[in-house]
């Protein structure tokens, strides 16, 4: 009750941004169950240690990510042909999502206006956002950073992606569409 009166008194008088900043925030601070004065006391040594831990975490993160990428590059995945269910009935100028070669590798199959099938890994080569097929523009687009890929080749049309999409080879066998292989493209500058 008294804190409410005190808060109301503070709110009614003119407060300065600089000198009365604590008083100005007092009514809101009262809602939270911690001692602000204690909370504000972070020593320089503690802050230094925190920065040291942050540095260690960033180093471990960079090393871990690089190690995982290097291991993934060495890993040989056996690719067996897989039937893409529902591809036969896919309408012209539309797309279908599927997985190839494993359940974790999402892919997108596109049937262009002329009836040809093209399939690509769905991860954008920039930061792994899922690309989608834009019917209006007839190209693959990444919604995250506005990259775009050619629907016939998977090449980068514009935007930040450094290389083309992974190409999934498709074959039509007895009227059924099969995925038969997956090729990762090299970076534009060959690095």
């Amino acid at each position: 009750m008294s804190s409410n009166l005190e808060a109301r008194a503070i709110m009614t008088r003119n407060l300065s941004d600089e000198s009365d900043v604590r008083a100005a925030t007092a009514p809101f601070q009262a809602e939270f169950p911690y001692e602000r004065d204690e909370e504000a006391q972070v020593t320089r040594r503690e802050f230094c240690n925190f920065l040291g831990l942050t540095s260690a975490a960033l180093f471990i993160g960079a090393a871990g990510f690089a190690t995982k990428a290097a291991l993934d590059a060495r890993e040989a995945v056996s690719l067996s042909p897989e039937h893409i269910a529902g591809a036969e009935t896919l309408a012209l100028n539309s797309s279908l999502n599927f997985s190839y070669p494993t359940e974790r590798d999402s892919a997108i199959l596109i049937r262009t206006a002329d009836g040809a099938y093209h399939a690509y890994g769905q991860k954008c080569t920039h930061l792994s956002c899922p690309v989608y097929y834009s019917r209006d523009h007839q190209r693959l687009e990444c919604p995250c950073h506005e990259g775009a890929f050619d629907v016939a080749t998977g090449d980068v049309l514009y935007g930040p992606p450094p290389r083309a999409l992974d190409v999934i080879e498709v074959e039509v066998r007895d009227g059924q569409v099969w995925a038969t292989g997956r090729n990762a493209s090299e970076p534009k500058d060959g690095g």
Binding site: R44, F59, A62, F65, P162
Partner: protein, 89 residues
Amino acid sequence: MEADLKTRSKPGQAAVWQARLIMLVMINIAQLWILAATVDAALARHYSVLLPLVVASGVCFLVTLSIIKWWRPTSRQKTSSGYVRGNDR
């Protein structure tokens, strides 16, 4: 306690502490950039730059460690009981 702290602070020591903190923050920012570049390079399959980036991040970490562990104001001297300032002895 506060008065005691005030009497113990010497001109120049605050500047050294500030310099240490600023350097640590700058190194952290550099490491953040290196991490972003590592992710970018890995996704782009630029495997040749991964090792230099990780080494650079490691060097930054070692510099951070050295700043925290060994960089002290010159008025502080190490004794068997820890660091003491010149006027404390």
